[in-house]
Assembly symmetry: C2
């Protein structure tokens, strides 16, 4: 195989004809495959079946001196807070155990900042002239949409192999209108990288002009290795405290990709001063979250060691899927010099950077051939990728054989859109 950028024009034209024929052929298969979201597949759901039957006797519903079935205990079941504290490396008093969605807890923090202000806010963000938020990109579309939904200005920060470009972040936070940053520190969505120690230290040591600047630390993939052993991480609350920024960070995590995606438990962790402040504001909106489900998780996951053992089983399912994707890209696209991508060891995504100006066309072709992927641009603020290049591949949902079919289609579409571009 020859790199497209080294092919003479007539060879490119021949290649176009071949690839068009291949596209017509896969279209004829009438596929219906979904690689659009980071949804666990059915075999993963079945791994955690035990959680459905771990708490069936009402006599088992008492924990921490309370009946988990009744109202009460706004901050969540103490033993559940303890479990997450062990997973995250913080103190149980720093953990708030909520409902099934960490996104909701993130939204709550931003919404509270907007309506009431955070602990160190001079006023609610709704009363500020302009509020800006740092969005390392490519990043997670739902993060960006939370702040966009409140009318904030989204500032793109380039992602690097070690995390957000910290020179740009340190410069940006000199603007008092810049109120926070989104971070997925481990197996970043979608690039799959782990922030370097240096990046994390620089984030914890930021000296933002805004007194209520907030690091939204979404540790969604904190124990989500699929290739190799658990990679330890430092507690961000401790790092921020040691850097003199104890109240600057809210950390988020959940069991959505440990037990059941739609029926897990989500938490946030923050300084005890922040906790006191948030507890008061949250007390207006909820009496308590579902402690029965929290207790199911405590009984089922038990502790960090047992949780990591479960994650090993997820890894056994996930690794062949990621290998199928990476192998196909290596085989079909690398020799042709088409694009660049990572080979992550955890998380839920492969981030593929296509020839600039071809991402949208590639995904339109995929759709035409029955393969749904995350929309082009979704990984950038406002859904607009200035390079029209980044594509998020989510291999978790389809079974391996479907995935192989889907990635074959994807590679054909990448080649086709590249050839169209090169021959224009």
């Amino acid at each position: 195989m020859t790199r497209y950028d080294q092919m003479p024009a007539d060879a490119l034209k021949q290649e176009l004809q071949d690839v068009q024929a291949a596209f017509v052929a896969v279209k004829g298969k009438n596929l219906k495959l979904d690689m659009s979201r980071g949804k666990p597949g059915k075999t993963q759901l079945n791994l955690a079946s035990g959680i459905l039957s771990v708490l069936t006797d009402p006599a088992d519903c008492t924990a921490d001196g309370m009946d988990a079935r009744n109202y009460g205990e706004l901050m969540g079941l103490p033993s559940c807070r303890k479990l997450f504290a062990e997973l995250l490396g913080c103190k149980p008093e720093e953990v708030f155990a909520g409902g099934n969605a960490s996104l909701t807890l993130m939204y709550d923090v931003i919404a509270k900042a907007f309506t009431h202000g955070l602990l160190h806010s001079e006023r609610p963000w709704s009363k500020e002239g302009k509020v800006k938020f740092l969005c390392p990109a490519p990043g997670y579309d739902r993060h960006f949409k939370v702040v966009e939904s409140f009318g904030m200005e989204l500032i793109t920060i380039p992602m690097t192999a070690t995390g957000p470009d910290m020179d740009k972040v340190e410069e940006a936070v000199k603007d008092p209108a810049v109120k926070g940053i989104w971070c997925v520190p481990k197996y970043s969505n979608p690039t799959g990288i782990i922030y370097s120690d240096e990046t994390i230290r620089r984030i914890a040591s930021l000296k933002p002009a805004a007194p209520d600047f907030t690091v939204m630390w979404d540790n969604a993939y904190c124990v989500h290795e699929f290739d190799g052993d658990f990679v330890p991480f430092d507690d961000i609350l401790t790092l921020c405290r040691e850097a003199g920024n104890p109240d600057m960070v809210f950390e988020f995590a959940s069991t959505s990709k440990i037990t059941l995606p739609g029926a897990g438990v989500a938490v946030f962790a923050c300084s005890e001063a922040n906790m006191q402040y948030m507890k008061n504001l949250l007390s207006f909106q909820v009496i308590s979250y579902d402690k029965v489900n929290q207790l199911r998780h405590v009984r089922y996951l038990k502790d960090k060691a047992n949780t990591l053992a479960l994650m090993k089983k997820h890894a056994e399912i996930m690794k062949p899927k990621f290998d199928a994707v990476s192998d196909a890209l290596d085989r079909e696209l690398k020799p042709r010099g088409l694009g660049s991508w990572n080979r992550p060891k955890g998380g839920y995504f492969v981030s593929y950077d296509a020839l600039p100006g071809t991402a949208k066309r590639t995904l339109a072709l995929c759709k035409e051939a029955g393969v749904v992927m995350t929309s082009a641009g979704a990984t950038f603020p406002y859904g607009v990728d200035p390079q029209d290049s980044n594509i998020r591949i989510a291999p978790s949902l389809p079974p391996v054989e479907d995935l192989e079919a889907a990635i074959e289609v994807f590679c054909i579409c990448v080649r086709l859109s590249a050839l169209e571009k090169l021959l224009k």
Copy 2:
């Protein structure tokens, strides 16, 4: 027994000595009893034990063509929406099934109004000069606190035996700053009355000056009879639609007092136009609520007939508790002419109106004697009862024998505070 208001002064003094002695005696018992909140008791929690084991096989987790365990279906499991539609008398498309707390859904509606505006808002309520909210009182403290937490002005509307004083409501809504009203139409919290058909018709037919005036219709006790058969009610969505106000109402309900208080399912119901509008705003904060728990409820409660049968079992537990309270009040306080109260046939509260100026003192005495009750004033906006008279009695949590001890203490404290007042 003689009415206190007909006793000569020396008889009152003798009575004071007797009651003081009785107070010292009960204090000596070192009781620790809680009648502060409408929490179901342990025997009620055990009624719904079947819900813990109704869904233990992963093969049973598929419903409505989807796997309840995975992400997705923001508005909730279709069969769960259908179940609540049957209970409320509306259409499934008008129901949004959420997490475990209806309070959270109510908060969401008000928070959205504040940050983004509702369907017919000219601007977000945060951008209005002044926002006022009608609070029929005595009412539910958590309702009042939701709107208070957003800095709204709370307007007290007197409660009558047939619902909020509608002359006052119709007058108040002429003010365009008045944006809504809280209603608990059936077994009102705390007065236990059911709004009359006439009141409900007048609410549905309101012609408020504010285009986005919203009726917050908390149907918390829609199937919660404990004395007598289920009392049918008209669908408020239909009534509002027929009165030309299709988008004026949000209705709320939950299974918190049907299955498990901390682990139930909550819903809101509204017009399809409102649903479309809310769905968009809610999509930023959650991917989907806990559909596994929704499915547990569908499998366990099945339908309205089966739900009503379960409520009959709750009634068997609740009626003796309410009887214990009512009987004690009838026996100890009625002959002495002390206060007035209702004898509800459903819901969770008895509302007791003490001699004006004695509610706080009564509850301070109760606390001194080891009986915790809802704070005096809690049933009024800003926690201030201008008459210092209303006391909410919540008989559901303690077992009957504890309840009898607690209500004995309460009656002694009512008498003592009345005597102190009369003799001042």
